[in-house]
């Protein structure tokens, strides 16, 4: 285990990065918890046809 103690229950206020469902962040904000909403989109799938087209163009 690392020497870095876990501050989770230390009483320090939570400051949360919310990645995904915004409702979870909204409920935390209702309780005056600090929340930063992080943009999330599914990674673009590798598209062989598109890659070939880009190769031709570039």
């Amino acid at each position: 285990m690392s020497e870095n103690p876990n501050p989770l229950l230390s009483g320090a206020p939570l400051h949360i990065a919310n990645i995904g469902i915004e409702l979870i962040g909204e409920n935390l904000e209702r309780q005056d918890v600090k929340v930063v909403q992080v943009r999330w989109l599914p990674p673009v799938r590798h598209d062989a046809e598109l890659t070939a087209l880009l190769d031709t163009l570039l």
Partner: protein, 513 residues
């Protein structure tokens, strides 16, 4: 009636947003059904069973979006599709406004005091996000389900190395320093710390403790598979060590479905070093013979009571008046037709469902369920047989759509389906309130039960209903209002799941006398 299906390739919106948009679209003129959902295999099956057949939808990929509408006229169907597309565009603009950072690293550089990450992206992408957060020294609440057990094992090894917690995957409930994360209830602060591999188990215990005026220091969720033999209770042991050192926690509750032998040994080895009272609730497991001194409770309610009595020896469990329970049984028997003989339990809370199966266990004919893997496993999870109790929050129902505590649509459909079955004698339901749940779930449930009763009534049948409400008087939905709305709808409301199931069992046994 005319219907339209539009597939929008590679357009992503979260399941809660899509559920909200679907609800809005159903209110448009002439619209009788509307579904906006990601094209996961599960959602494509739901579309098919709802009568929306389209080659384009069947061939869609999980990262594509499907808009499906049925309306009274061709014009109204076209108008609804146009409205849906407008709403989706507006939603993307609003989501863009809500976003405060493009990436986790950007968020941390803008706010260096970020110390926690909540992750609720689709399961196949969740492990990468969780790993990134753990490597940056954050504790992680991983709400996403459908994460592989191999990924869970790897992530928990990273968490251990970093000395941070990975709560999850499929972790629904936590309360840390008073902040309720995911599905959790508004409970008073106090001396009881809960470590839970079962979300609604933690909600039920903490809510019942609150009713007995005993507060909570923290709830740490571990994810439902943490006590699986491949994971070995990794998060639970870390959480117990944290609770042991926490000055706010005087008593610890451990709640879970039965653990694997290896996880149980590790948990007991950890708890043996903690000099605080520990109450175990391993639903359905027999207490080990060599666990002298440890306290074991069979049900969630018993666990809450045993814990409360450490703080307030005079504590008693809340329950409905005996007279109300007797009246319910008498009325149900008086209005029953001879063919009505089965109970149908439709649960949003997985642990509440599991507990119901345990408590109903020995009724004649047994109980079928999607949680069983033996001769009483349901052949088709969308069709009940005999006595049936199902967990509608199970992955099989929720892939690509919001949990039934947020989106009751699928359970509502099932309630109406059960109401049409002449053999159904009783509906047994839960209603979980608190953070994460709908704003007024009792109103929605009362409306659907009114329709269900009409369906049964047209066939000359009554439809008795028991609902257990999991929540507290401090919850944002107003507990008393929730009870009142259900009671006005003719529902028998109980204060704990054990009370609800015991009453249901009493009725079934009275039928079979």
């Amino acid at each position: 009636m005319p219907s339209r299906i539009v597939v929008r390739p590679r357009e992503y919106h979260d399941s809660v947003r899509l559920m909200r948009l679907s609800q809005l679209l159903r209110k448009e003129a002439g619209v009788s059904e509307a579904m906006i959902m990601m094209a996961t295999p599960n959602n494509r099956k739901i579309l098919d069973t709802t009568g929306f057949c389209s080659e384009q939808a069947r061939n869609a990929n999980p990262e594509d979006l499907i808009v499906a509408v049925t309306a009274q006229t061709e014009e109204e169907a076209d108008a609804a599709i146009a409205t849906a597309i407008h709403m989706l565009q507006k939603n993307m603009e609003n989501a863009g406004n809500a976003v405060q950072a493009g990436t986790l690293d950007e968020a941390i550089s803008l706010h260096p005091d970020i110390n926690f990450a909540c992750i609720s992206v689709p399961g196949s992408f969740a492990a990468d996000e969780a790993e990134q957060a753990l490597e940056r020294g954050l504790n992680v609440f991983l709400f996403s389900d459908n994460v592989t057990i191999e990924d869970e094992k790897r992530l928990k090894q990273t968490a251990l190395k970093q000395n941070r917690l990975l709560m999850g995957p499929d972790c629904g409930t936590a309360i840390i320093n008073g902040a309720a994360i995911g599905f959790a209830n508004a409970v008073a602060r106090g001396p009881v710390g809960i470590v839970a591999a079962s979300g609604t188990g933690a909600q039920e215990i903490s809510s019942l403790l609150d009713w007995m005026d005993v507060g909570i220091s923290h709830i740490i969720g571990t994810g439902g598979r943490d006590l699986h033999q491949d994971i070995g209770g990794a998060t639970m042991c870390q959480a117990l060590e944290l609770m042991a050192q926490d000055p706010q926690t005087d008593i610890i509750v451990v709640t879970s479905k039965p653990p694997s032998a290896i996880a149980q040994d590790r948990v007991f080895a950890t708890t043996a070093r903690i000099g605080k009272p520990i109450i175990f609730n391993f639903l359905g497991a027999t207490p080990p013979a060599d666990a002298a001194g440890a306290e074991f409770c069979a049900t969630l309610a018993e666990t809450a009571l045993a814990t409360a009595r450490h703080v307030r020896p005079e504590a008693t469990l809340p329950c409905a008046p005996q007279a109300d329970r007797d009246d319910f049984i008498r009325n149900a028997l008086d209005t029953r037709t001879p063919v009505q003989r089965y109970v149908r339990g439709l649960y949003a809370g997985g642990t509440l469902c599991y507990e119901a199966l345990l408590l109903l266990g020995d009724i004649p004919g047994g109980v079928y369920s999607n949680l069983k893997h033996d001769s009483h496993a349901l052949t088709d999870i969308f069709t009940s047989q005999g006595h049936t109790v199902i967990d509608m929050g199970d992955d099989a129902y929720t892939q690509g759509r919001a949990h039934p505590m947020i989106d009751p649509g699928l359970r509502n459909q099932r309630i109406l389906h059960e109401a049409a079955d002449p053999e159904v004698a009783l509906l047994l339901l839960d209603l979980v309130i608190g953070y994460g749940a709908q704003d007024n779930p009792a109103r929605n449930l009362a409306e659907i039960l009114h329709t269900a009763r009409n369906i049964a009534g047209q066939d000359g049948r009554s439809l008795p209903v028991i609902v257990t409400i999991c929540g507290t008087r401090h919850d944002i939905q107003n507990y008393s209002d929730q009870v009142e709305q259900l009671e006005q709808a003719g529902v028998m409301v109980t204060r704990s799941n054990a009370e609800a199931v015991t009453l249901a069992k009493r009725y079934v046994e009275a039928i079979n006398v």
